[in-house]
């Protein structure tokens, strides 16, 4: 099983770090939000991976099936996705307003404008 | 009224007076009348407690418990009684003096002045009557904060800077050192009540008690132990009534009073003597006595000279306490009363000189004694008391302090006291001598100015060649000088009042 079988978790780690990096490294406000989304997506995959039971199917009751994957993490993820969507929407709304106020959505240019005022 | 109620009255009366003063902002005469009436009532209440205390009673009462297990509690005992008598009695006199001074000087913000004064006296009463260290600490801090507006009264740049030094040192030492010592004591013993014999006996080892003593002594910044003394000269920027009452009587005496209470009721005289950890305190106190006197010699500004003299005299009391024997406690306690009267007289004179002749530097005061004879005679009386010559009260306290040094086997401190007396003569007597006998450099100019200046009741007195301070001020100075003399004869009563504190029977 070892490391190769755990490739889901490797993806989680990769996405988490990639998302984090995007947030920190880029100055463009929209890109930061995209990075945040990637970061959150890693968290979704983590939960979904927890939910999978070896040999289980989708958690919908059907004749002749005895092993189901755990439905609870799916529910939790749905909630988390909604939270993520709300966050993204709010973030983008803020970016629109910032653009109106500053004329730019690059963090460094905003800094410069703030310093001048 | 019962003892407990009287104590509550003593603390609450000045606060009530504050409210009345604030309400009468527009009516100066009523406002001043309230100050005088409140001070007289307070003095009556305080002196009314004396019989109960001298016969062994310890009246008091308990307020809220702000930390569970630690109430705000009041309990009168002889040391506190003495300090309260001094403070309340001198408040009456200072109020009289202040009225004369503030009006002739046309000072601003007089309502704020009288109101803060009243709050300061109330907190001083709280300190006098505190039954445990927490209560004392609370009122100690309130005293610092309520005197800040008094120190920075003139709102000038110098006053603001001085206020910073004042507040910085006093709050800094009290929070960083004193509060730590208090909480530590509570942690070690589970109580903070003032108990005869002390509460720290056997609760901690010698070195720990030594550190605790260090924290207490330097935490009590108001006692002006060097190097925490800078706030005293800085506070001289305040108007003279403030310097007189607060820095000759209330604030500094609260400091050394706290030192005495801590040594007698928290450590216990025997515990302190037993741990042998207080040598450093004796030496630093002695150093302060001499060093401050030497600095006083170099100061030309009269109030600055008196400020350093105060620093020196305060360390008399600390040294007496540090000697850890009963005579030291009695001498220290007595010195609270003697020095208060002597120093307040000197400060009153300094203020009178400022108001009448607008002079602050001693070098300019040659021959001024002939223009202001009453002031200079009162200054002479006050000086003799501070120097410690009979028949002035100061001689008794110095006598007991020297005896205490002898009893502790520390002859060197006897010499310190004697040397200090010589230094006192050196920095106090020249003013008197030159005032009366020296040729005035510009007396003619003063006389010409004063003849042309309009002099009214609030401004001063002018009779012939004499141009004196306002009558209210003269009256106040007369009372305190008489007090210096009378205390010489009352020293015995003070001894008997303080005897139980020091553990002396009878």
């Amino acid at each position: 099983m070892a490391a190769v079988g755990l490739y889901n978790y490797w993806i989680v780690v990769f996405l988490m770090m990639a998302g984090f990096y995007i947030v920190i490294a880029h100055d463009n406000l929209v890109k930061k939000i995209i990075g945040l989304n990637v970061f959150q997506a890693s968290m979704f995959i983590l939960y979904i991976t927890f939910g999978k039971v070896q040999g289980g199917t989708a958690p919908i009751i059907a004749e002749g099936i005895t092993t189901y994957s755990n439905p609870l993490p799916h529910v939790l993820i749905l909630t988390a996705i909604v939270v993520g969507v709300a966050t993204t929407a709010l973030g983008l709304a803020l970016v629109v307003r910032i653009n109106e106020a500053y004329g730019t959505i690059e963090d460094d240019e905003i800094h410069v404008q703030d310093e001048e005022s | 009224m019962s003892g407990g109620t009287a104590v509550a009255f003593a603390i609450g009366l000045p606060l009530f007076g504050t409210i009345l003063i604030l309400l009468n902002d527009r009516y100066p005469n009523i406002r001043e009348g309230i100050t005088i009436t409140t001070s007289i009532c307070l003095a009556l209440v305080v002196f009314g407690l004396v019989p109960e205390v001298t016969s062994g009673g310890r009246p008091g009462f308990v307020l809220a418990e702000i930390v569970p297990g630690l109430p705000i509690a009041f309990k009168v005992e002889p040391l506190g009684m003495l300090f309260a008598m001094v403070a309340s009695g001198l408040w009456v006199v200072t109020s009289i003096y202040a009225i004369g001074y503030m009006r002739s000087h046309h000072e601003v913000q007089q309502t704020r002045f009288y109101a803060c004064f009243a709050i300061a006296i109330s907190s001083a009463m709280g300190i006098c009557f505190a039954g445990n260290m927490l209560t004392l600490f609370i009122f100690y801090e309130v005293l610092t904060i309520s005197t800040y507006p008094l120190v920075t009264h003139s709102e000038s740049k110098d006053a603001v800077k001085a206020g910073r030094t004042y507040l910085g040192i006093l709050i800094g030492t009290s929070i960083a050192f004193l509060l730590l010592a208090i909480i530590w004591t509570w942690f070690l013993t589970g109580t903070l009540d003032f108990t005869p014999g002390g509460i720290l006996k056997g609760k901690a080892d010698g070195p720990i008690l030594g550190i605790l003593l260090f924290l207490y002594m330097y935490g009590i910044g108001k006692a002006a132990l060097m190097p925490m003394h800078r706030w005293l000269p800085a506070a001289m920027v305040a108007p003279t009534p403030v310097s007189a009452l607060l820095h000759a009587v209330a604030v500094v005496k609260a400091g050394v009073f706290t030192v005495l209470k801590v040594i007698v009721y928290i450590f216990g005289i025997d515990t302190l003597a037993g741990i042998g950890q207080d040598d450093w305190l004796m030496y630093i106190a002695a150093f302060t006595v001499i060093a401050a006197s030497c600095v006083a010699l170099t100061k030309d500004n009269l109030k600055a000279r008196l400020a350093y003299s105060t620093v020196s005299q305060l360390s008399y009391i600390i040294l007496g306490a540090a000697l850890a024997n009963s005579l030291g406690i009695i001498g220290g306690g007595m010195h609270i009363a003697m020095h208060a009267f002597g120093k307040i007289t000197l400060f009153f004179c300094a203020g009178a000189i400022l108001v009448a002749s607008h002079k602050t530097e001693i070098s300019e005061m040659d021959g001024l004694g002939r223009v202001m004879p009453f002031t200079f005679i009162f200054f002479l009386i006050g000086s003799l008391s501070v120097i410690g010559l009979p028949p002035l009260g100061g001689s008794w306290s110095k006598w007991y302090l020297m005896l205490s040094a002898a009893e502790a086997g520390q002859i060197i401190f006897m010499f310190v006291f004697m040397l200090s007396s010589l230094l006192n003569i050196a920095y106090l007597m020249p003013l008197v001598a030159r005032g009366f006998f020296a040729e005035a450099k510009d007396n003619a100019k003063i006389l010409k100015e004063t003849h042309s200046e309009k002099v009214n009741f609030w401004n001063g007195i002018r009779i012939g060649n004499i141009r004196e301070a306002p009558p209210f001020c003269i009256f106040a100075m007369a009372i305190t000088s008489t007090g210096c003399i009378l205390l010489f004869f009352y020293a015995d009563k003070i001894y008997r009042l303080l005897a139980p504190v020091a553990g002396i029977q009878g």
């Binding site: 927890f50 909630t79 307003r97 910032i98 | 702000i66 904060i145 709102e155 206020g163 800094g172 942690f187």
Partner: protein, 491 residues
């Protein structure tokens, strides 16, 4: 009816939010918000009395039994926090009407109160819930609405401040949810009490360790523990005055509560402080926060920013108390949670009064303020005395227990550091006092009056409470001590 109070505590503000959205006539949405906050306070008070009298309350949402159903579990700690959050809301809402007149467009006021009610609902929900994932959901509700509230500030920098808070806050929340997920993977449950039981039975594994790490870091971001505090100064400075007061007094306090809940209830003391040297880590970070943040506060010219850095320092005190992990230390942390909310809330309200008249809170414009707005500045100074820890204020009581907690642990250095850092507070408070009282009023200063009673009364309610609870400490110290004992599992 009373048995459903735990649910109503959250549901009432939650319902008030859409009602505010619909009520667009003038500022009647304010009336709805007022009802919502006052009702919450009443419920929180009743709940606290109930907990004191009969012990922990357990409410099953929808009658589904835990650990599968969501449980609202109220013991002394969260009853206390519920009280302070709802009390602050109840005092701030009457103030908001007048204050927002100058700071916010009047035809969109209903939007403000909608977000405000959502924020309150979220904070109360975080406090009252006994389910870990439910906690995350409410945490995000409160966070998202607070981003909105902050962005409503006048200055355009409010937008960037809200954005920065959004990014950092979301990272923090995501860490928290990863931690919860890892815990779920290890134990199979989300109910906090059940988690505690199952974690106690299991040996320590890397999963639990990782979960612990993610949770602590995520929560630390939300409570602005140094060095994860970077979002706080901008957020508090540029938000509307009401929002600064409300958030400063509640948001970080609730995050401290979450930390307490996870460190002591879910993971018990041995795990939290044995597995990693968390006490040392928290101690070091707290001390740095106390000194560095206070030092930075001294040099700020914008008074709101000064108070924001002061808040970071005060949070350091709370975390310091927690790092002691003994009854006195924890009690000090819980106590300071309450006390600081009163003090900071009051001081921010006072600054709001000044902003209402002056349209600025720069210290250079404050000359002579003590005479121009006497009641307001007096409130600010009394609050400042509480920050310093002068006796007779609540700040003194917190410091007392902090030093006691340090002494119990033989950490003399910590005791001294607590007191010395208070001296830094003296400097930054006294800067304001000197300018306001000892500088003359400039000649060209506009003539202003003191703030209107609608704003002064709430300010003085909070500041008065900071004195009252500094003298009558029966309720606060009693509850804090018992709560600390409950958390530590000692009697």
């Amino acid at each position: 009816m009373t048995e459903h109070l735990p649910a109503l505590q959250v549901v009432i503000p939650l319902l008030c939010a859409p009602i505010c959205m619909l009520v667009r006539y003038r500022d009647w949405s304010w009336v709805v918000a007022l009802f919502g906050s006052w009702a919450s306070l009443a419920i929180a008070w009743v709940l606290l009395q109930q907990v004191i009298a009969t012990g922990t309350i357990s409410y099953h949402m929808g009658n589904w039994a835990p650990p599968l159903g969501i449980e609202y579990r109220i013991d002394l700690v969260n009853a206390f926090v519920l009280l302070i959050v709802s009390a602050i809301a109840a005092v701030v809402t009457p103030y908001a009407r007048e204050s927002l007149r100058t700071e916010f467009g009047s035809n969109r006021i209903y939007m403000f109160y909608t977000a405000y009610m959502l924020c309150l609902c979220g904070l109360l929900g975080v406090t009252i819930t006994g389910d870990a994932f439910n906690l995350f959901v409410f945490l995000e509700i409160s966070s998202l609405s607070s981003y909105v509230l902050i962005a409503m500030g006048n200055d355009r920098r409010a937008l960037t401040a809200a954005y920065q808070y959004l990014v950092l806050g979301t990272i923090g929340a995501t860490f928290i949810v990863i931690g919860i997920g890892l815990l779920y993977a290890e134990t199979g449950t989300l109910n906090m009490v059940d988690l505690a039981k199952r974690l106690a039975d299991q040996p320590l594994s890397r999963t639990i360790g990782a979960a612990f790490g993610f949770l602590v870091v995520g929560i630390s971001l939300k409570l602005a523990l140094f060095p994860l505090h970077l979002w706080l100064p901008n957020a508090y400075t540029y938000a509307p005055s009401v929002v600064s007061a409300f958030l400063a007094a509640t948001a970080t306090k609730v995050a401290v509560y979450v930390l307490l809940r996870f460190l002591f209830t879910v993971f018990d003391v041995e795990l939290s402080f044995g597995f990693m040297p968390l006490d040392t880590i928290l101690f070091v970070l707290a001390v740095i926060a106390m000194f560095a943040a206070s030092a930075v506060a001294i040099f700020q010219t914008n008074l709101k920013r000064m108070l924001a850095y002061s808040s970071v320092a005060q949070i350091g005190y709370m975390i310091l108390g927690i790092s002691f992990a003994n009854v006195n230390g924890l009690a000090a942390g819980v106590l300071h949670l309450f006390n600081h909310a009163l003090i900071k809330g009051g001081m921010f309200l006072a600054l709001g009064c000044i902003f209402y008249r002056l349209a600025t809170v720069n210290i250079n414009d404050m000359a002579g303020m003590g005479r121009r707005m006497p009641w307001t500045m007096a409130a600010f100074v009394v609050g400042g005395l509480g920050l310093i820890g002068v006796p007779l204020t609540v700040g003194f009581i917190s410091k007392w227990y902090l030093v006691l907690g340090a002494l119990e642990r033989d950490w003399w250095l910590a005791a001294a550091l607590v007191l010395i850092s208070s001296l830094l507070a003296v400097v930054y408070v006294w800067r304001v006092v000197e300018v306001a009282y000892l500088k003359p009023i400039p000649e060209n200063a506009t003539k202003i009056e003191d703030a209107p009673p609608a704003m002064l009364i709430p300010t003085w309610l909070l500041i008065g409470a900071s004195i009252y609870y500094g003298i009558n400490t029966e309720l606060t110290v009693g509850v804090a001590k018992q709560a600390a004992q409950q958390l530590l599992g000692v009697s």
